[in-house]
Symmetry: D3
Subunit: 203 residues, 6 copies
């Protein structure tokens, strides 16, 4: 598994509980963060935060690239960074941003990853707080047992703790809604889910 995020905290928000599910199953999980997130706080601090989060997850590796925050494009510079990691790891599955996202860095990260459509078996597209109305997920992961990993990881991002979208209440509402949408929520449980749009899947 390889999870790609534009900034420190993107994978945490989009797919960290699913990654925890993979670790629990015994899959290896690698993280690639394209920028240091310097527009949202001191880059040193942000790198530390995301690395601590990766430790909570038990990630097998984490790489932080040097693309400029808010200036990530979908051209060769971005593609090259992703390509190097794909060639190194040969992942079966990539989790990445959906290109249906109003944030230009997220959109371009999604577009750049899709360049590898034919070279990777599975590409699943996660949501961020800025996904557009065109993000229409139909793949669901039951994360009830892994939700706490996501919350714990996000709390480590102290530079972001004034953002409404890292508030536990907001994250829980989203996760409950996705479980509701998936039909996982019954009368007697408290299911939570992460949801993904489909890039490509190989069965």
């Amino acid at each position: 598994m390889l999870a790609i995020g534009a900034h420190p905290d993107d994978c945490e928000l989009g797919c960290y509980a699913t990654l925890a599910y993979h670790k629990n199953k015994g899959d290896s999980v690698h993280l690639l963060v394209l920028s240091k997130g310097e527009a949202g706080g001191p880059s040193d601090k942000r790198i530390t935060e995301t690395k601590e989060a990766a430790r909570v997850l038990g990630a097998d590796s984490i790489t932080v690239g040097g693309l400029r925050d808010r200036m990530i494009t979908h051209d060769y510079q971005t593609i090259e960074l992703i390509q190097a990691k794909i060639e190194e790891l040969q992942p079966d599955r990539i989790y990445t941003h959906s290109s249906h996202d109003n944030h230009q860095d997220h959109r371009n990260t999604g577009l750049a990853t899709m360049t590898f459509y034919r070279h990777v078996d599975d590409i699943l597209l996660y949501e961020s707080p800025s996904v557009s109305h065109e993000f229409t997920p139909r793949i669901f992961v039951n994360i009830t047992n892994f939700f706490n990993v996501k919350i714990e990881a996000l709390k480590l991002h102290e530079t972001q703790n004034d953002k409404y979208y890292v508030r536990t209440e907001a994250i829980a509402a989203l996760a409950q809604y996705r479980a509701f949408q998936a039909g996982m929520l019954t009368m007697h449980n408290h299911s939570k889910a992460e949801a993904f749009d489909l890039g490509k899947l190989t069965i």
Copy 2:
């Protein structure tokens, strides 16, 4: 305002808090329920439940039609029922099902209402628990102060109280998620929203 639902409880689930907002503003609110919902409980009981809910809302009128539950089509029989009500009330705005819904009665109710596209200023499309991934709402109403009306109205539907989707927790998660999506949820509030897809709007 005219709100149209395929069954007793559809308007309650989709737009009742928004209708309460309209009543609070002084708008008149009329309800049209196309079927007696006989597939989900005794029709007499269901009619009573939805009429009690309408009383809680303070609706100006409620009409229950006689289309067959689970057999609502988008042909002339349905259109005629809606047309009669439009001609009687001359509503500026209609709230109705989105046609992006996996339930055939909901889908066909939405399609039948869209027939009146040119004759009504505004058509807003609400969600149900069975909306498909193509329901992508971009119109939001802050219902924080009217959420309790929705919950109270739904509790009156005793025949439906074993359905997971009338569970307060599920409804609250959806309303919080919609507020989150709209940017209404900040660090320090508990905003809730109902969300609508656009049929047509006249400014």
Copy 3:
């Protein structure tokens, strides 16, 4: 696994090699054919053909319903037939027609199956010769080793052997193209694939 087709030969054309892959893995595979296909040949003969094909596949069961060929609708009659089978088998995954299909029976079969969105983990949508341009598959199954089962099953449909779309050359071209699209075709293999659009998937 449950595979649903509108007529005898629809599952064969859309997903038979994938079903053979499932059988090979040890999964159980059940078939539901909604009509006897009487518009395309004598219904007795067509039922016999599809049952013989099911035997070649090694299907665990096959049920042929009595909906009228060319008159399948997406209302309750069709839904009820599918619902009975879902309640009996409790399948984790359903393979069914995409609703993006120019044949009304196929489209309505797809729509009717989607009614069960919340009650089934996975719904994968297969293609037929009449899918519309909106069928845009992104799920691929490598069927190189199971392609012969598909061909053998189709040859048993003697009543259909004047249809160009059961010609081996046409079926092979489609399967090679899907493998090409999936990136499975390399310089040195002869990969074939079946392709599916996404209804819903649970990981």
Copy 4:
């Protein structure tokens, strides 16, 4: 050429100037009207009107079917009527309703025609006053020299002359807008166009 309309006046509104262009080039033009339009006036009168319009156009034939106005479905009854005409005429090109239309008869006429996707070289989809926002035409015909045929043909529909959409001003505005959209309108001409969505085209 075969042009198909749900009611008398549909071909006139959607593609009559284009048909006049075809006649002018020497192509043969046949018309198939699926219903007698009895919901919009006495059926005898309406049949006479559309036949007179066909005479103005110089159509090679016109057939009026007996489907029930407002009750046209996309199932076999409609398909059979279209199929008989296709088998009789073997047309290279069909002009028909877009299925992106809020009027159920139009939508179903469009869906029923698309069933013949593989059997006809070209299927072009015309607009009606009730097309939905999903009708997004990209095929344009310069009808500047044939616009008067359209107007003359529409004026013959006396039973419809209280409909705002047969008003010459409305029809001219649409035709000018389509020319504008196509880039046909320059600083110094008065171009008009009819516009079509693409079903299928063979070059």
Copy 5:
């Protein structure tokens, strides 16, 4: 209200009559033009023209930014310019380009504005002569009484008066067509409308 255009004359073409309607209602209206339009004429002259147009409208302010004409991107440089204005004015509603536009400056202006989806109540997307077929407006404003403001403002753009799309006839045809589409045009009026696609709306 804040209206954003890529070049001098974009707001005029897309939403000036609607802005006049807002001024008439007593709303304040501010304009942000991202570039000086130097590719279409001397920048000094073009700035003067758009400022005179703003005076005709009675705009409360107009700001002309320094992005390079034909080189407007959807990255941080553009976003920053918009963000400064949003922070200064705190507008409830923004009128901006649709991103479904074949002109790269328009498309990128639309994309850049959508970055503020969660921070602004309403984002309405106007059309330009280069919108693509994916621009499918469903929001309509009756501008019959304000159409002359639009025409007067456009006439002030003397550097553009050889463009076919500022021709009064073309603009009137579009406005009549939009009124027709909205159902505003009856047998006895001369209604005109401006039309918008939906970014986001808060009721």
Copy 6:
């Protein structure tokens, strides 16, 4: 006719048999290649290869531009290159990349060409091995008699002969599948087709 490709070999893969059909009919055919393809081999060699391919086709001219391979954007630099050629040749029809393509150079070539929507009668969008699932062609050209020109032209690209997508088997599978989709493949022929999405068409 003008055919535009991002790299040497793109027109060959996407529309060379259709161009051969045009040459056979007596149309003139011009080629514009935006980059030298230096990322896929020595640029001198690649230019020679595509020029030899053009000679096989009998193209009336071929121009190779100097945009940087893998860095083609949809801004003014690209647009200018295309604009110069359009002004020189005044083509009735352009064949170009679809923007629904996962390769950034292809996507941006498509976007840049669409800028000329109003100035060219026809814009047809061809496929490449990297088109995304949103490429949904509905225009078909029967290339059975011209397929050998395509194969011969591709074989001249010796620098690319290790790419799986220039393998004759892959190209033939695609061409047969497109013929199948178009309804050109019958029981008794070996039809092949190239397929295009619609930019714009003028009849």
